[in-house]
C-alpha cells in the first residue's frame, strides 16, 4: 500500500482574485492562484522531550522516518490523514501547532501493533501514539477522548478489585460519555444474545452484576498500584507542569442582521 502523504498546501492558504490588475496586467481568475507563505515561528524545542517523558514515548528519538509505521497502519488504510510517521516528524522537529491540527485524530490508534512489528528502529510507534494523545489532553488542547474515558473506567475497576465485570464497564462507559443504551443495534444484539441462552447462564450473568468478581486479599496490591500512580503523576507534573483542563472554544457570537 502506498504511503499517502498530507498535502502541505491548505485550502485556506490558496487565494485567487476575481478582479486583480497588477502593473496593467489582468491576473484575475484561477491561472494566477497565489499560495500564502507558510511561516512557522512557534517551534517548541522541548516537544520531543515532553512526549518522551510520557509513558510509551521513550523511544521516539530513534525514528529515522522510513514510514514503515504509516505503511502498515490499520487506520491509515481507512483514513489517509492518520499518519504516524508524519506526527513523529512534527514532534521531532518541534512543530507544535502543526501537530495540534490533528488533535482529534491521533487517539484513534487501535493498538493493532502492526507499526511496532514493522518498525526497524524499535520506536514502538503504537505507544508513541498513545503518549501523543495523552500529551494533547494534558496540555488542554482537546477533551479526554472516548478511548481515554474507556481506559479509565476499565482500569479503575481492575485497580479497585483486581478483576473486571464487563457489564459494569460498559454501563459506566456509556454513562460517562453520555450515550444512550437504547441504540437500535444494541437492543438487537441483546435480543439475539438471549434468544438461545440457557436460563442458568442468564442467572449467572445477573448474579455477576450483584456479586462482583474480585481477587481475594487485593488490598495491598491496590495500595501499591495507587501509590505508584501517584508517584508517577508527581514526576510528570514536575517534568511537564500540571495538566491544563480543556476549555471548549467559545461559540461565535450570533450576528444580528442590521435592520
Amino acid at each position: 500500500m502506498p504511503i499517502h502523504e498530507k498535502n502541505l498546501i491548505r485550502p485556506e492558504n490558496i487565494s485567487t482574485h476575481d478582479n486583480l490588475v497588477m502593473d496593467g496586467i489582468d491576473v484575475s481568475g484561477d491561472w494566477s492562484t497565489f499560495i500564502k507563505t507558510r511561516v512557522v515561528a512557534d517551534y517548541n524545542e522541548d516537544l520531543q522531550d515532553e512526549i518522551a517523558a510520557l509513558p510509551g514515548g521513550e523511544y521516539i528519538h530513534r525514528c529515522w522516518q522510513c514510514g514503515s509505521c504509516t505503511n502498515s497502519c490499520t487506520i491509515n488504510a481507512i483514513n489517509p490523514d492518520f499518519n504516524p510517521r508524519y506526527w513523529i516528524y512534527l514532534i521531532r522537529m518541534g512543530f507544535e501547532s502543526e501537530l495540534v491540527r490533528d488533535k482529534d485524530l491521533i487517539w484513534q490508534c487501535v493498538s493493532c501493533n502492526k507499526c511496532t512489528s514493522a518498525c526497524p528502529r524499535d520506536v514502538v510507534p503504537e505507544a508513541v501514539m498513545k503518549a501523543t494523545a495523552h500529551w494533547l489532553e494534558r496540555k488542554g488542547y482537546t477533551r479526554k477522548s472516548s478511548s481515554t474515558v474507556f481506559d479509565e473506567v476499565f482500569s479503575e475497576q481492575v485497580i479497585e478489585r483486581g478483576k473486571i465485570e464487563d457489564g459494569e464497564v460498559v454501563m459506566n462507559f456509556f454513562n460517562r460519555t453520555g450515550q444512550k443504551l437504547t441504540q437500535p443495534w444494541l437492543i438487537e444484539m441483546v435480543k439475539r444474545m438471549i434468544k438461545n441462552l440457557p436460563v442458568q447462564m442468564l442467572t449467572m450473568m445477573g448474579l455477576a452484576t450483584i456479586f462482583k468478581p474480585k481477587t481475594r486479599n487485593w488490598g495491598p496490591a491496590r495500595d501499591a498500584i495507587n501509590d505508584y500512580i501517584e508517584e508517577q503523576e508527581a514526576l510528570l507534573d514536575e517534568k511537564l507542569g500540571p495538566s491544563v483542563p480543556y476549555k471548549a472554544p467559545e461559540p461565535a457570537p450570533t450576528q444580528i442582521p442590521a435592520e
Partner: protein, 310 residues
Amino acid sequence: MSETKKYKKVAYYPGCALEGTAHAYNRSTKALGKELGLELDEVDNWNCCGAMEVKNIDPKIQTYLSSRVMSIAANDMGHDVVMAPCNGCYHNLKKAEYDLSHDEKSKQVVEKLSTKAGHETYKAGQVETIHALDWIKDAIGEEGLKERVKKSLSGMKIANYYGCMYTRPRHIFPEKDQGPGSESTTKPHFMDDLLEAAGAENVDFALKTACCGGAHTLSDSDTSTKLVLNIIEAAEASGAEVIATECPTCHSGLEMHQIRAEKVLGRKTNVKIVYFTQLLGLAMGLSPRKVGIQENISDSIGLLKEKGLT
C-alpha cells in the same frame, strides 16, 4: 517444537473475559481439555492481566498485573507452563516476560509493587506462557486429533481468524518464526492445522491477522464496524460459512459489529462466528450445549444441524 507432549498438565489462566462475555470460550476450552484427557489447573486467585486498557494508564502497571499471575502459577503452584486461551491475556503475559528480561526499569517496578503487595516477585523464565492453540497442537497434535474425531467437520468451510495480539509485535514471541513446525507471525497456521485435522475445509483467507478494532470497539464504534465488516466480507468472499476465532475481544467484536453493520449501514452478512475450541469440541463428539454454542450471539445452530454436528 522439539520437546513434545509437555503440555499435558498446565496452569490455566482464563482471565476476566472468559468469566464474562466469553463464557462460551471458557466452557468449550474446559470441555475440550476434559474430553482429550488434558489437565487444566486454574491459577489460584488470579487477577486481570490489564487487557488493552491499563497499559494506557501506565505500561508498567500492566507488566506488574501480568507478572502477579505468573508468580502465583510458578511460586505458589509449582507450574512451569501457563496456558491462556484469551489473546489479550496471552499477549500481556508474553509482553511482561519480554519486558522483565529486557528492561531493567520494568523489573524494578515489578519488584517494588510485588514486595508492597506481599507476594513473591516473578522472575523472567519461571514459566512459559502458551496459547490454547499451542496447548492442543503440542499435547494432542494433528495426528492425535484425527484419531479422536467422532463427527468430522467435513464440508464446513472455515476462515481462520487470529487477530492482532497472537502475533504482534513479533519480538515478544521469540518461539515464533523459527522454521518448520513453529508458528508464523505473518501467516499463522496453528488453527488451520487443527481444524483441518478435524476435517474442516479451510478457505484461502487473506485477513487472518487483520485488526478488528477491538481496543475501540465501544469508544470508536464506527471505525470498528468498518474494520469488522471488511474482515467478514473478505471471509464471505473467500467462501467461508464460519469464521473460527481464538480471542474473546475479536469474537465479541465480530458478533457485535456484524449486527451494527446490519443496523447502521444496512450491510447484512451471514457468516457465523464460532470459537475454534467449540468447533474442535463438536468434532470430538461433544454436544453443542457442552461447548456453549447457545451462548454465542452469532446463531450457528442451523448451520451445525445442516452439517450433522448436533
